[in-house]
């Protein structure tokens, strides 16, 4: 079985990011996953343990005390060493802000090619073939790298987590400072994560609110409905710009792309940029007071009316019908 390198993202305090477990799952469908991570030496044991919990059997740990002196350099060096040592069939990296930087530098440094934003990966005659969802799901494209080994950025939320292992072997490698002037990290403020709600990218139900809700207070309507359905909360760019919802809830061309079983758009007109982020949903429901809102063109069930009347009634109706065991 071929080796598949998996780039592991961790927080400054050494916790695995939520991209790690699903990415490991994707790697295991292609070959033997080898995790590549860089962090300060005292985090080694804890990270190796967390990785074994996530199903890793083999970890390459790059020890660095330069964690704030560089954005990505230790990661790129660790991956470069691992590419040389393990002759992988692919390098998998989460399609995150830092992941894209790592992938870009690594591709140039080791002379490998890139596959971007894969939503599915498979082996075909020994080569890694990726599926991509382009223009917000309007096109399905398959790509591969000819005569080379790909570095693949994988869309966040793709992949099923693995069972824990009994422990992972850890190889330790050393990294050095960059041979260019680097970017130094100053104060870091972690974004708050909604602990009680499913992750937006992988949730099976998403309830999103738009500008039509009129205020941050009214946005609670969307949250109530989302919680009732065990769904994630999303927002249109207009709602985010107006300050009704945090930026990491933005669904659309420039935000998160979602493809849930059920997408409920409340007070969202459905500008084409918003649709690009959600039109791959299996079922779309829209509630909007403007009967000409473009969201109705793609909604499986559209309600023209006042969200402030309809959503509370819907919450009551669902509550009355709910057969779900609490």
């Amino acid at each position: 079985m071929s080796n598949i390198l998996v780039f592991i993202e961790t927080s400054p305090s050494g916790e695995l990011r939520n991209t790690v477990a699903p990415l490991l799952g994707v790697a295991a469908t292609l070959g033997h996953p080898i995790c590549v991570v860089s962090a300060s030496p005292e985090r080694r044991e804890s990270i190796a343990q967390q990785l074994s919990q996530s199903g890793a059997g083999h970890v390459v740990f790059a020890s660095t005390d330069q964690t704030t002196a560089s954005l990505v350099e230790p990661h790129v060096q660790a991956l470069t060493t691992a590419v040389q040592n393990f002759a992988p069939a692919a390098v998998l990296i989460a399609n995150s802000v830092d992941g894209r930087d790592v992938a870009g530098r690594l591709a140039v440094r080791v002379g490998m090619n890139l596959i971007i934003d894969a939503v599915e990966l498979r082996l075909q005659d020994g080569a890694v073939v990726a599926a991509h969802s382009i223009f917000g799901g309007a096109y399905l494209v398959e790509s591969t790298v000819h005569d080379g080994i790909p570095i693949v950025t994988v869309r966040q939320g793709v992949g099923e987590p693995l069972e824990a292992t009994e422990g992972a072997t850890v190889d330790v490698v050393e990294v050095t400072a960059a041979n260019y002037v680097d970017v130094v990290i100053g104060e870091v403020a972690e974004k708050t994560v909604e602990q009680d709600r499913p992750e937006l990218r992988s949730a099976s139900t998403v309830v999103s609110g738009g500008r039509g809700l009129g205020s941050k207070e009214n946005f609670a309507l969307v949250e109530t409905l989302a919680d009732l359905l065990d769904g994630a909360v999303g927002a249109s760019r207009a709602a985010v710009d107006a300050g009704y919802a945090p930026q990491n809830t933005q669904v659309g061309q420039t935000g998160v792309t979602v493809a849930p079983d059920l997408y409920i758009a409340v007070g969202i007109s459905g500008a084409i940029q918003h649709r690009a982020g959600m039109q791959a949903a299996k079922t779309i429901v829209a509630i909007n007071s403007d009967e000409h809102a473009p969201i109705f063109d793609i909604a499986d069930f559209g309600v023209v009316g006042d969200a402030f009347e309809i959503v509370p009634q819907l919450v009551a109706e669902i509550g009355a019908r709910s057969t779900r065991v609490p």
Binding site: R17, G111, N113, D117, V141, I185, E187
Partner: protein, 258 residues
């Protein structure tokens, strides 16, 4: 100070976007526009020029003939000159090739700062700024919501999937900006008129001494298939007269969605 803003011409996200069977964007010049994120990158350069008149702003783009329109617009917004990397061999160029060619063009042009958007609205690759930085042995301060240049020091607010951080580095550097960066200005009449007289030069692969056939050691990324999904159509649409919530709950229940 010389700032090069990278400009990408893309299909307008307000219009219908099409891919060919080989995964190449079908370009109709009419619906092609400067990517909004490129305009924000240019705005960073222009607002620095507002403060320091000695700043020289160059708009640089790679793409087919139609890209001259995008570069003329950049000139009308206030860029001093424009460079168009254009060569038939670059049709369908992958990221590795694009980065290699743009890095060569940037070296030839010279710069103190390179500003790009964080991710284009069509390809959404988001790896190019780091790739250019690696080619040019420069720092890459990516995904910046705001930035401040003081002499050769750059301080910025960077936003990732998980955190927001202050970062700093020294010029020369590559930076990429997010859609939180300020919106672009509008061209005025004077800008449009003067744009016609500003230099817009073209560079071919020969001019850059690049032979695409000579180095393919990393392989080529290729599109195998490209299929258009059937367009979504409107389903049931009702107007609320007090009963809509119940009907909607019934619809969701029938589809086992609640």
């Amino acid at each position: 100070m010389k700032i090069v803003a990278l400009i990408k011409q893309v299909p307008d996200t307000y219009g219908e976007r099409k891919l060919s069977a080989t995964g190449v964007i079908v370009r109709g010049a009419k619906e092609s526009v400067i990517d909004e994120i490129s305009e924000r990158a240019l705005e960073i350069a222009l607002s620095h020029k507002d403060k320091d008149k000695s700043t020289q702003v160059v708009a640089l783009s790679m793409g087919p003939e139609s890209v001259t329109e995008a570069l003329r617009k950049a000139l009308s917004l206030g860029a001093d000159s424009a460079v168009h990397v254009c060569d038939d061999q670059l049709v369908g160029a992958d990221l590795v090739t694009t980065a290699r060619v743009l890095a060569a063009a940037l070296k030839k042009e010279g710069f103190d700062l390179i500003v790009t958007g964080n991710q284009s609205s069509d390809g959404q690759g988001g790896t190019l700024p780091a790739m250019l930085a690696e080619h040019l042995s420069l720092p890459a301060a990516t995904a910046l919501d705001s930035l401040e240049i003081n002499g050769t020091t750059l301080r910025a607010q960077r936003s990732t999937d998980y955190a927001s951080a202050t970062v700093h580095t020294t010029l020369p550097a590559v930076v990429s900006v997010t859609e939180r960066a300020p919106e672009a200005r509008f061209p005025n009449f004077r800008g449009i008129m003067s744009a016609k007289r500003k230099p817009l030069s073209a560079l071919s692969l020969d001019d850059l001494d690049i032979d695409l056939g000579s180095d393919r050691s990393g392989g080529r990324s290729v599109v195998l298939t490209s299929t258009q999904r059937p367009a979504r159509t409107a389903g049931i649409k009702i107007t609320d007269e007090g009963q809509a919530a119940a009907q909607l709950a019934e619809f969701l229940s029938a589809g086992r969605l609640i």
